[in-house]
Symmetry: C2
Subunit: 597 residues, 2 copies
Amino acid sequence: MRVSRLMLATLRDTPADAEIASHQLLARGGFIRRVSSGIYAYMPLMWRVLSKVINIVQKEMDEAGALQTLLPQLHPAELWEKSGRWKGYTAGEGIMFHLKDRQNRELGLGPTHEEVATSIIGEQIRSYKQLPINIYQIQTKFRDEIRPRFGLMRSREFIMKDAYSFHASEYDLQDTYYKMDKAYTNIFISCGIKTVKVDADSGSIGGAASQEFMVTADTGEDLILKSPDGNYAANIEKAISKASPPLTLKKQETIEVSTIDQKSIETLCKEQDIDSSQIVKVIVMVAILEEGKDQPLLISIRGDQEVNEVKLFNEITNELNCKILKLSFIKEEQLINQGLAPFPFGFIGPDFSDSALKNAKTWQNKFLRIIDLTAADLQNFVCGANIENKHRFHVNWSINKYPSKTIDIRKAKAGDLCIHDESQVLEECRGIEVGHIFQLGRKYSTSLKASFTNEEGIEESFWMGCYGIGISRLAQAAVEQNHDEKGIIWPISIAPFEVMISIANIQDPIQAALGEKIYKQLIPQGIEALIDDRNERAGVKFKDADLIGIPWRIVVGRDAPSGKIELIERAKAFNEVLDAKAAIKKLIEEISNQKTF
Amino acid sequence: MRVSRLMLATLRDTPADAEIASHQLLARGGFIRRVSSGIYAYMPLMWRVLSKVINIVQKEMDEAGALQTLLPQLHPAELWEKSGRWKGYTAGEGIMFHLKDRQNRELGLGPTHEEVATSIIGEQIRSYKQLPINIYQIQTKFRDEIRPRFGLMRSREFIMKDAYSFHASEYDLQDTYYKMDKAYTNIFISCGIKTVKVDADSGSIGGAASQEFMVTADTGEDLILKSPDGNYAANIEKAISKASPPLTLKKQETIEVSTIDQKSIETLCKEQDIDSSQIVKVIVMVAILEEGKDQPLLISIRGDQEVNEVKLFNEITNELNCKILKLSFIKEEQLINQGLAPFPFGFIGPDFSDSALKNAKTWQNKFLRIIDLTAADLQNFVCGANIENKHRFHVNWSINKYPSKTIDIRKAKAGDLCIHDESQVLEECRGIEVGHIFQLGRKYSTSLKASFTNEEGIEESFWMGCYGIGISRLAQAAVEQNHDEKGIIWPISIAPFEVMISIANIQDPIQAALGEKIYKQLIPQGIEALIDDRNERAGVKFKDADLIGIPWRIVVGRDAPSGKIELIERAKAFNEVLDAKAAIKKLIEEISNQKTF
């Protein structure tokens, strides 16, 4: 390809809305063009990158036995109503674009395809003999993001590979899940990007196990905790760890202590000269439910620990077995609205009485009581005395007469010890999610009544998995991970071209002829070469070449009369003057090596 | 690929909504699955067909110098307002799906991309040196069809290849237009379908020249007129021809004849014993304009000819140089509403006075007068006398004192003589439009202010072309053109697989082993083989094979012990018992020959 025919249009200035390097470089290099907030056109150079990523993904998915399809982007509302997700995805802060057609029927623009895939497979597949099935598609998806940002990282139109697998048993689902895990690992290696696989929360998609593949990058939106030995990594939302051991008070008789205005853990510790790990902190919240009375929560956790709200949300959802719209901290106004007496905030103990909720208007009149493992392990602790300005010291759990659920709802953090090896201390890093695999279980197949006949002739709901890769996000993440101050450094396997031939002075017939000769020798060898045949200053061409990040460069300049050129590897300081013939030989070898993983 | 892993799900019954053979066969073969009205999922077999079509299209577009991109599907309303198409595409019967995002901004779902492409190129390209540019994309498009039907033929989501070219001159635009014409011809030949290229109306897209590529099929929605010598073909909307010569009255003095109740041409001819080609028929219509007073029209045409409303619409639009919402026949009620006296309908002559429009409330008070060439050529004709129950005989055009536009607005029809060769008589056939190429001119670049600097340093609007191929429609059109009563007969180049190995009895270890052996020998030879390894009756397998239409079939049956199989070509009665080795050799040769065009 010739640069003169490529509509190359690089920018000197960075677009005002581009906050991170990869967004800036893709915009400046003319790879993408903003059409509206969070909506981008993929220009010819970018399309070449995306095609290569897509080819790698297709190859691995096909080899893992998945079947490519293309499902509709317009989804009838009825399907999402069956799964119970229509309201959540469209009302209020819902992220699904939706519209009415000329028949006044509601349609959503697919952000994900569990409903469509499950419905089709449910209609088409009858017997366990046809299972397992794993269908995938590569397609533009839509999300009406609250705050589109970072270019393709959080855009409103983006390219996804999504796959949905259907199984006769959980065991078989796990088998495909591990195959997908392996395929994903291969895909990211083939794309030349470094990823870390982390345990993840399954979020609104639902389901049992799930893992994310993260491109590590300082600008990543996700926080990851991992062990230095590489044996454990998890999204902060899902991470588990062993808390540092608490200091313990000496065993003594329980005493009540006056703690006037010592509402916060910090003040209490300072005034009473105790350590926060000696305290049971109590938090009162209310779970707002989609249907029925809202549920007040009383949460006990060790004073030096924080609650992980995602873990808490999941536990409460499981416990109540109903849909929670949100969790919020109980505030005084709410108590007034409920017709309840004020709570002694800052002085509540784990045994705070349910009588405080008696006569609540729209709340349940009993707390759901959750005790974090760190709190449950304490003895002789400090806690609120359930009246203003009083705490109790040297308390034990015998004070709590109410049924309570003891479970891990603690936020793990850097510095915690690892569960798998207590000699390992968790470290923090940031990542960009590029892949996500889920074991969905039977949530969607049950709600959408998608079933098959099992070996015993009985109708059963499918076991399901789903597996996503953000194709356009991956392409940008590769830039975030591979760039320098001059521009992009594409991994060879997804670079728009493999080598750029820069003719320093196109007016010089000897340079021009040598450049063309090299170009014409590379093409039949299967090397994807780009020749900069523009009548521009050498400096402009070199700057553009650095910016668009083609992995190899051949500069044809002053040494052309002696048949010599300069061979440059973009990623390295590597820079060698060679005879043109030797350069071609070396280039072909190097590229061939780099493309073999 | 093994049929057992392909989720093959054929139907015995035809879906109720499938009216034409190709829709029935694609649905019964499990190629497509309806998700909502006019919205289909492309299942694995169909995706393989579409991929092959896409690969053929990409190859030819790339070779013609076009650059692949991917433009957004969500279009900001502002862009379409600039081109003046937002209202027409969204209001009333507009076919563009549209919605409001969370910021309450209006977005349309792209049915076509002139606005987006023009806006991007206008921002990115500065100089004539960067021209010509031809960008293309392959993408799902959306149309909220009034009546979705015929499966993928007229669906609400469909895959298109669309290209937009930008030029410094009309001459350069024509050059690319002819390159695209050639590329399209190659594409359809490569896909193994027979098409006819026809002159076409450029419709709401606008522009100068345009041609359509039609797959000929009896069920096609478009009517085509073509010459037997293959030198002329046009869409009925655009077709031109030489009308048969009229009979003429003898030259005599003009006389007025009483023609009571002889309002229609038919009655008049019968009662007066004249031929319809001797009459000037006058039609009165009104053009409803987007802005300003509506324009009454007085149209004269030879009595045996019909008006082509598309030609008429285009002529009136040019003449008035403004946007016409629709053309309608003037009715009595309208005259009452306008406060006008009744017209002598059925007795109006070409010289009907403008005074009939005096004092019209919202109409212009002069007719725009159009005379079709067939009428203009008449002498000594018959026409209305402008009063009830009276016609004039032996009239000449000297009667018409009003300024009139003489032009071709006649509907060509089968039986007319060809313009290029009067020995050729037009024939009628039906077609399915699969491709369309346009010379757009500067309509979009002007309205969207997309300009470049020309060689003289002056800003100028781009000359533009656009070029579409209906990828999903093409795939179904191939079926409409290639099927029999048993099922589909895919052209080899777009068939989901090239050969199907049917093992008659999978329980028979000798048959199973021979089938597997052949399968394993074909795969490394690059033959796309499908092996039917299902434990089903041979009859079921053969029926499925006929239905899904793989071009070649190897049946491994009773002759397996002697190493013999049956080789069948789906398209022909061809059916041969061969030694397995000979069959493989022959198959490879035949497929290789069929794939070379």
